[in-house]
Amino acid sequence: MTAFLVRRAIGAVWVVVGVAVAVFLILHLTGDPAAVMMPPEATTQQIAEFRHNQGFDRPLWVQFGSFAWAALHGDFGNSLRHGEPALGLALERVPASVELAFSALALSVVVAVPIGVLAAVRRNSLLDLAARIFALIGQSAPVYWMGIMLILLFGVQLGWFPVSGIGGIKHLVLPTVTLGLFTMAQLMRLTRASMLDVLKADFLRTARAKGVQPLRLLWHHALRNAWLPIVTVIATELVTLFSQAIITETIYAWPGIARLAVQAIVDRDYPIVEVVVILAALAFVAINLLTDVFYAALDPRIRYE
């Protein structure tokens, strides 16, 4: 297990390095931000001076070298837009994003897993049909559209929840539902399918035959064996949640890191984009590693040698 973890950690470092190189090249090969940042009446000479002062006129490899060296020391440079260290600006937005992502994930799991199990057990019942229709809508409705509809219904018409910003629990409701819906639908379908497979298995028939209580049969024998694909999807869904958060955070004016990234891309604020992408790469690598470890805990048959 330890050897496995060390091997994976080394691999993870390479992934992050690769991502850093890729994002740097993509950003810098598509032009520099001088023209975007300077006011329109600036002369060509003033733009050239700005470019020079910011170091954008140096050869690409020199720029990358100084970027990499500083980044190794935790310095990603100052945001061009804010004039403050990019790392700090990104990190201070992480808690809001984590809060939203985890509440969306928690909501999805809490709703989707029990309904998925029930739908599988009562296959072709009215409940199963309703669950499948819900899953279809949840997976096909665009987040953008769903967000606006929820705002209009629960915010403007009914006035139950605030429509934008961060605050207490009330502020969390609409963004959580919007962000969680897709994942919820995905998990519900998967739980149902996975349970259907397990329910057909021989060991369940045996358990049933030896008189195990139906509820214990379901949760202990069936669900435990259906868990593996569900856990895998939950982990990968965190990645989906991040990409969907770009839209959710924008619609609900949620002060998270995805919204920061969108604005930074619009402004060609390199340092911020680089930091956000590298942080995201780190997060995904860590999640994957944790998932592997979690597998072993869930299923004693899995051993990493």
Binding site: G31, V36, Q54, H82, G83, I148, I251
Partner: protein
């Protein structure tokens, strides 16, 4: 009904009280004298000497002071400076008020003005405001309340923007390691101003809280507290206004105007924008657009009022030249190119392109930069195709597009909009029509000379005569498809008394609550 509302209000107050300590501690009525403003984006920094983006400077206008202010017609009026005059052709002198104090009690003096301008001019700072004070060679301070701007060449003040410089507390900046030639970054989050509203707290992308400055030299502003709460998505901004979560929203898309104007709790306010949208011909690159007759013909082929009606819901004003009517230098005698397809075809035939044969033009346009930029370009391409020529659009993201405008690389036709908050012809004509201007794709030495002459002409009548002549040339030469001046749309809750300004600025000390 009023009875029911009052009952509801007292219930809400009870609820607020029961919700715990912080709400209960707020002074009575505090909730009602707070105004929340939602722009599309958060300010990017509280250091007022760096950036030029409107949503950021809108906050700065309320926490910092400037030497002068500009009214709704673009006329300057005294603010921290009580008077100003040109003492010699290269020296502008400003006299300052004696009673202006920063929030920490430091008096605002000429040294602070000098420090602020020098900080902007310092290349190490990388300030985008540099071009605004480029004409200022140095600053002199004969005494604590006199400032002299020394320019290299005799300059009418409109040629730079010295009044747009926010004045910072030089003593406070030095105490925090922000001397000239050095920036600690401290000011980006800890501003010290002298403005009508005092900066209290800021959680980025969430909210920025300011409170009325009780000791403001111009009197305590009427609204107790102003919260800046950005909402990026237009539909969400409109929703937040309808629920009363915010009191003022900017950049209202035209499709919401009926809903908001007829809203129970909302109203619209609008102003003629300082921004004029146009399609320029790149006359520096080869192609039929180098032929004046072709350019005139295409101006006759478009139907601007129809585009304004269908694409912008009527919220724009067609222009006959690059200048809108509320600008100094505007000439009402110049006719419009009215929609006349027959005349367009006739001119094209005369130019050697009968039925538009041989005309194949690309219409470049950005997306998401100006209100309905892409839609307008598509409508123009459709109308121009009526001439028989072939017109297609190429739409690009602004960050890519703007790099091409800088290198004059967009051809043969490209869309831009120009915002000129000096309300004066000089900025527009110099930036867009003189041969060596970065954004100009038209070169005419005779016009260059007229524009320079007008800049240094001090007699307003003679100056106008020079502009009349310049605009006649521009109209006849038609280096643009002349389009329109935007109307900027804002919406507020009904309790807020505030009217939109064409220069996109928001001054909270002009606000009142009903």
């Amino acid at each position: 009904m009023p009875y029911g509302r009052r009952a509801l209000l007292s219930f809400a107050a009870l609820l607020a009280l029961s919700l715990g300590g912080s709400a209960a501690l707020a002074p009575a009525g505090a909730a009602d004298s707070t105004v929340t403003i939602s722009q599309g984006v958060d300010p990017v920094t509280m250091d007022p000497l760096k950036r030029t983006i409107t949503p950021t400077t809108n906050v700065h206008y309320n926490i910092f002071d400037t030497l002068v202010r500009q009214d709704r017609e673009g006329k300057l009026f005294p603010w921290v400076a009580t008077s100003w005059k040109r003492v010699t052709p290269t020296v502008w002198e400003f006299k300052l008020r004696h009673d202006v104090k920063f929030w920490n009690g430091d008096p605002l003096t000429s040294a602070d003005v000098k420090f602020s301008v020098e900080k902007i001019k310092d290349p190490a700072e990388g300030s985008e405001q540099g071009p605004r004070v480029a004409t200022v060679e140095r600053i002199e301070t004969p005494d604590s309340y006199t400032v002299r701007y020394i320019t290299a060449k005799p300059t009418a003040m409109i040629a730079g923007y010295p009044w747009q410089v926010f004045i910072v507390d030089s003593k406070y900046w030095k105490e925090h390691g922000d001397d000239v030639g050095h920036s600690s970054g401290y000011q980006a989050e800890h501003p010290m101003g002298s403005g009508p509203y005092i900066f209290k707290s800021w959680r980025k992308d969430e909210q920025l809280v300011t409170e009325a400055n009780a000791n403001y030299w111009h009197g305590r502003p009427s609204v107790d507290s102003v919260i800046w709460k950005p909402i990026p998505e237009a539909a969400a901004r409109v929703a937040a206004l309808r629920t009363g979560e915010t009191d003022l929203i900017t950049n209202v898309p035209a499709q919401y105007q009926l809903q908001l104007a007829g809203g129970r709790n909302t109203r619209l306010t609008s102003a003629r924008s300082i921004r004029v949208l146009f399609f320029a011909f790149n006359t520096l690159k080869p192609g039929p657009q180098q032929n004046k007759l072709v350019r005139q013909a295409l101006n006759y082929a478009i139907d601007v009022p129809a585009i304004i009606q269908t694409v912008l819901g009527g919220r724009a004003y067609a222009v006959n030249t690059p200048l809108p009517p509320n600008f100094v230098g505007y000439d009402p005698k110049i006719p419009f190119y009215h929609h006349d397809l027959a005349k367009a075809k006739e001119l094209l035939a005369k130019a050697g392109y009968p039925d538009g044969k041989g005309i194949d033009m690309l219409i470049n346009a950005p997306i998401g930069r100006y209100n309905k930029d892409k839609e307008i370009a598509e409508a123009i391409a459709g109308q121009l195709s009526q001439t028989g020529g072939h017109f297609t659009t190429k739409i690009q993201e602004w960050t890519t597009y703007v790099n091409f405008t800088s290198s004059r690389g967009l051809t043969p036709v490209y869309e831009l909009a120009w915002g000129n908050n000096s309300y004066d012809a000089d900025n527009t004509l110099t930036s867009l029509f003189t041969s060596d201007a970065r954004l100009s794709t038209y070169a005419n030495p005779a016009l260059d000379k007229l524009i320079v002459d007008a800049r240094y002409e001090t007699d307003p009548k003679k100056r106008q005569a020079v502009y009349d002549k310049s605009l006649e040339i521009i109209h006849d030469e038609a280096p643009w498809l002349f389009m329109f001046q935007y109307e900027d749309l804002y919406a507020t809750t009904k309790r807020l008394a505030w009217e939109a300004r064409g220069d996109e600025d928001i001054f909270c000390d002009e606000m009142k609550l009903k």
